[in-house]
Symmetry: D2
Amino acid sequence: MAYRVLTRTAGSSQQQQQLKLLSDLLIRSFSSGPKNVGFIGLGNMGGPMASNLMAKGHKLHVFDISKDAKESLKAKGAVPYDNVAELAKASDFVVTMLPNNDIVADTYDTIIGGGGIKNQTIFIDSSTIDPNVAKAVQKKVKAAGATFVDAPVSGGVPGAKNATLTFMVGGTSEEYQAVKELLEGMGKKITHCGGYGMGQAAKVCNNMMLGISMCGLAECMNLAIRLGLDPKVFADIVNASTGRSWASEVNNPVPGIIPTAPAASGYAGGFATGLITKDLGIASAVATSSNSPIPLGALTHQIYRTLMAKGLANKDFSVVYDFLKNTEGK
Amino acid sequence: MAYRVLTRTAGSSQQQQQLKLLSDLLIRSFSSGPKNVGFIGLGNMGGPMASNLMAKGHKLHVFDISKDAKESLKAKGAVPYDNVAELAKASDFVVTMLPNNDIVADTYDTIIGGGGIKNQTIFIDSSTIDPNVAKAVQKKVKAAGATFVDAPVSGGVPGAKNATLTFMVGGTSEEYQAVKELLEGMGKKITHCGGYGMGQAAKVCNNMMLGISMCGLAECMNLAIRLGLDPKVFADIVNASTGRSWASEVNNPVPGIIPTAPAASGYAGGFATGLITKDLGIASAVATSSNSPIPLGALTHQIYRTLMAKGLANKDFSVVYDFLKNTEGK
Amino acid sequence: MAYRVLTRTAGSSQQQQQLKLLSDLLIRSFSSGPKNVGFIGLGNMGGPMASNLMAKGHKLHVFDISKDAKESLKAKGAVPYDNVAELAKASDFVVTMLPNNDIVADTYDTIIGGGGIKNQTIFIDSSTIDPNVAKAVQKKVKAAGATFVDAPVSGGVPGAKNATLTFMVGGTSEEYQAVKELLEGMGKKITHCGGYGMGQAAKVCNNMMLGISMCGLAECMNLAIRLGLDPKVFADIVNASTGRSWASEVNNPVPGIIPTAPAASGYAGGFATGLITKDLGIASAVATSSNSPIPLGALTHQIYRTLMAKGLANKDFSVVYDFLKNTEGK
Amino acid sequence: MAYRVLTRTAGSSQQQQQLKLLSDLLIRSFSSGPKNVGFIGLGNMGGPMASNLMAKGHKLHVFDISKDAKESLKAKGAVPYDNVAELAKASDFVVTMLPNNDIVADTYDTIIGGGGIKNQTIFIDSSTIDPNVAKAVQKKVKAAGATFVDAPVSGGVPGAKNATLTFMVGGTSEEYQAVKELLEGMGKKITHCGGYGMGQAAKVCNNMMLGISMCGLAECMNLAIRLGLDPKVFADIVNASTGRSWASEVNNPVPGIIPTAPAASGYAGGFATGLITKDLGIASAVATSSNSPIPLGALTHQIYRTLMAKGLANKDFSVVYDFLKNTEGK
C-alpha cells in the first residue's frame, strides 16, 4: 500500500530515484529468506539477539571488542570480523548494540571511513543513545549512501534471550516496513515511533516516566507502611485506584507483595539501577538541549545517581525502596 | 462469621461487654431498613451524598454553616439543625464531610461537649484529613462512649452525585461491616483499609502517588513533544509500556489525546489543583511526623504550590502540563 | 522614647490600662537587680542557660521531667518544683526551653489551668516551634493576663554554655525592651524580629536557608572534586566569589579544609542533623499553612530526612557531603 | 622560581625540550610590551574585552560572524579577518569568547585544519563551556604544537567594560604565569584553578552554588514575608546569621531591600536567567558524566528551565523570587 501511494505522488526524477531505492528496500525485505546480517556488539543483549537471528536462518557476520564474545558466536556458525567496515560490506543488514553515544558514533565513523557503506545496506542501531546522536549518525550514513534507523529495545536480557523484545523504531514508514521482519526475529513488538531519532526519544521519555513511577511508588509504599497500613492491602488499593502504574502492578518494590518481582529475591535481576540511571542521564541531556523542564525527572535522576554512589548499580531499580526506608528504628 | 469468631474468643466480662456492643452494631446495621442519619457538611460533596441517602429511604438530620445548604436539603425532606450535638442525639449514624483538620476536630469537640454522644451512634468522617487527627478524634469519641470510623472518599463531585464514590474505611472489621451498607447508599466501592486512621492514610498515600504520576507524565509528554514525537503516538507507546499509569490511560494532560479528559476542555472540571495540593500538604505533614523521606512527593507538592500561587487552584490538576510547557517559542 | 509615644497616643481607659501595664514592664525590667526567674526545660541547652542566669545573681525556680536535671540545678542553688504552675507563681520571668510544639502547648496549658498566671509575669519561650503555635500560646497567656514572647535561639550547646547565644525575639517593642536585659544574661545578641511569632519565623526561615546552603555546598564540593579540582583551591575560589556563604566560610563539609569544622573530626559536634531536620519540618509545615512554595527547602528537608533514616541524626549536618559522595570507586 | 625547579628536575632530552618551550613562554610573556593578539568572538563580552586590550597597547587581530562587530573594532584600529586560521598565524596570543561547546570546538578545528597553529602561540578560551570539551580542545591544540588554557570569566558585561573581570585559569603553573599579564589587561583577578579544564570546572561549580543560593534565598524571603516578617528586618537577620550568602548580601531578590540590586529596577541588568540556566545545564552534564549526585543543583536547573519557558531569559536571575511569590491574594 505504501508502495502505491508513493507511485502516485512521485513525479520528479529525483523522486523516481528515491522511489526505486525504497521499492528495492521493500522487495528485499519482503522477500523472505535468509539474509547476510552484520552484528556489532555481542554483550548480554547483543549475544542472544544475534543467536536468535541465526536460529531464523540468517547468515551472521559478527564483531565485538571481546574475542571470546566473537568466538562464542563463531561456534554457532557466525563469521567473525576484526574490521567493522569489512563486516558491513558483507551484510544486507547491520545491527549495532553498543554501550553509549561515543562508541556508536565512533563505530559508524569507522565503518564509513573504511568504505563499508553500500547503497543496499540497512543499518539498525539498537543501542540506547541520545536521539540527537542518532539523528547525526543517520545523516552521515545517508550522506554516505545507505539507510539508518534507530531501534532501541525494552525487555532486558530475558527479552533478548526469548526473542520477546519491544523495538522502538525511528525512520520513515518505508524504512520501518523494511526492518520489521528482521526485527521480528528478535522481538515480538515492533513499534514505529516516528522519524529519525524518535525511537530513541520514545524510549528515553518512557523510561523517565518509569523511573519517576518507581521512585514515587517506593516513597508511597514506605510512607503507607510507616503510617500503619498493611503493604499488601495498600498495594491492592493503589492498583484499584488512581495511583496505579506498571510499577505498582508488576514490580512493587516492597518484598513480599509480588512473588515474581525482583524485590522478592534481594533486588537481583530485573532492570539494573545502572541502566535506568544511564537512561535518566540521556533524558537530562535532551531536556537541556531542548529547553524542557523536567523537575521530577531530574530529581529521580539524582536519586538514582545517589544509589549508584552507594554501590547499588547492579540491583534492580526497585531497590530505591530499600534505600529510602529507615535502616534504623522508627 | 465475624460474630461466631468473637463468641468463641471472648471470655472476660469486659470482652463480653464489648462483644455485646459489637453484636448490637452488627444487628443494627444488618437489619435493613431506614435509619436516622445525621449529616454535617452539605457542600459540593456532602449535599449530593446526603440526597443519595434520602433517596435510599433514610431520615436525614442535617447541619451546615450555610443556611442555604440546609434549606436545600430541608426542601427534600431533611430536618435542619442549628446544633450538632442535638443532631447527633437524633441519629443512628452521623456522617461528617468537612474541609480540614481543625473543623473536623472542632465539630467533634462540640458534639461531645454538647452531650451529643450516645452509645449506639456510629460516626463516619468522610472528610480528607491527617490520619493522626482521625486517630485522635476516634479516641475522644470512643472515650465518650460511641463509635468512630474514618472513611474518606475518592471520585469527586460526579461520584458524589451518582453515588459511585469509593470509600476507604479505617476501623475494626466489625465497624467496617457496620458501616458498609450505609456507605453503599453513596458509593459503589467500600474498601476496608485497616485500623483507625488507615482510611485517611490510604487516601493520602494514593493521592501522593497520583500527583507524582501526573507531574511526571506532564514532564514526559512535554519532553517527548519537544523532541519531535507525535503526542498521540507517544501516549500509545507509554500506555503499552512500562511508563503507563492511571494518569496516562485516563487523564493525559495534553489536549487532544483523550477527548473526555479535562485537558480537552481547558482543564475545567476534574480533580482541582487546590484539592491535590491540600492532599499533598497532608502527605508532607504525615511524612514529617513519621520521619519518612518523600523526595518526589515533596517536590510535587511544591510544584502544585507554585501553581496555586499562579492562580490555578480551580483547574484540573493536569494543568501542570500547561504550566511546564513553553509559553514562548522553542 | 517608646513611653512618650505611648503617652501621646493613648486615650481610652483601656489604652490607659495597657499603658500602665507596659510602663510597669519597662520599670521592672530596667531596674537592674536580681529577679525570680522560672526555668522549665533543663536539657543540654536549658541547663547551662539556667546556670548562666544564676551566675548573674538571679534566683532560679526550675522544672524538668528529669529529676537528675533538677537536682543538678538545685545543687547550684536553684529551687526545684514538681508543678509548673507553682513555679510560675513564684517568678517574675519564666523561660521555657522545650523540645516541640506539643510539649510547649501542654506546658502553658498546665500553667494556665493550674492558676500559675500573674499579671506581672513575663513568659519567654526559647524553644524552636511553629510560629503559629507560638502565636496561639501568646493569645492564651495574654487572655489569662500575662505577657508572652517567643525568643528562639541560635548558637547551639557551646553558645548556651558560654552565654553567647543569639535570641530572636517576637513581641512588641516594649516587650522586647522588657526581656532584653534578662536575655543578655544568656546571650550576646538579642534581635527584635517583629510581632508575636516572628522570632520563630525568623529562625525557621534562616535555618531553611542554612540547610539549603549546606546541601548545595556539599553537592558543589563533591562535583568539583570529581571534576579534578583541589578541594582547598576550589573552597578559596568559592569564598572569593558569588558562591560564598556562611557554610562555605565557616563549616565547609569536606574534611581537611577548615580545621575547626565538624568535618575535621568525623562530623562530631556542631549542629546535629536531627535538629536541622526538625527545623526543616517546621519550615515545611508553615510553608504549607501559608501556601508558600519552597522547592529547594522541601527537597533539602527530604535529603535530611533520608540521612535520618540512615542513622545520622547525631552527626553535624555537614555530613550530607559524606552521604552524597561515592562510597565506591569512580 | 618555577623555572629553577624545572631546571633541577628536568633530565631527559624530551624534558629539556619541554623546558625550552616553557622558558620561551615565560620569557615571551614576561617581556612586557605590545603583543599581536587575536580575538575571536566580539559580542557583548568579547567586544569590550578586545577594546581593553587595545587600550593597553596591544595590536588586535579580530574575527566575528557579525561584520558590524568586526567593523566596530576595526574603527578603533584592529585588523579584521575572514579566516580564523590566518588570524591565528598573525598572533602571539589568541583569545576566544564564544557562545557554546560546539562553536568553540568547531572554531579550534577550523584553526587547526587551516594550518593556523604555530608553536609560539598561546590560545586562551574565555568562553563558558563543558570542562570535558575544554580538555579535548587542549589536547588537539597541544597535538598540533601550541598551547591552550581555559580561562572563563565572571563579572558580566560591566566587568568586561571596566576591565574588572575575574579569570579562572586551567593549565600548568607556567602557562598560568604566561597568560596572567595579558589577562590583567581585561580583569583584576586572575585565579589559577588547576590543570586543563579546571577553570571551567571552577566556574561551573561556583555558579551552580550561586544558582542554588539565589533560588533558596528567594524561597526563604517569600516564606518569611508570608509569615509576617518585615523583609528588610529579615534580610538583616539573615546577613548576620548562618543563612548569609553573596546573594543575600549583594543581590537580595526582593525589591526594596538593596537599592543597587536588579530587583530594584524590574530585574533588569545583572546576571541573566538565560546565562545561569546555561551554566546549570553544563553542571548537569558534567555531573552526569562524572556520576556525581546534585539534587539541589538539578532542581535549581529545572526551576530556571521553567522560568525560561515562561519567557524570563533576559531578566536577572533573582527574578525567581517574582516567579515563586503569589501573583494572587494569599
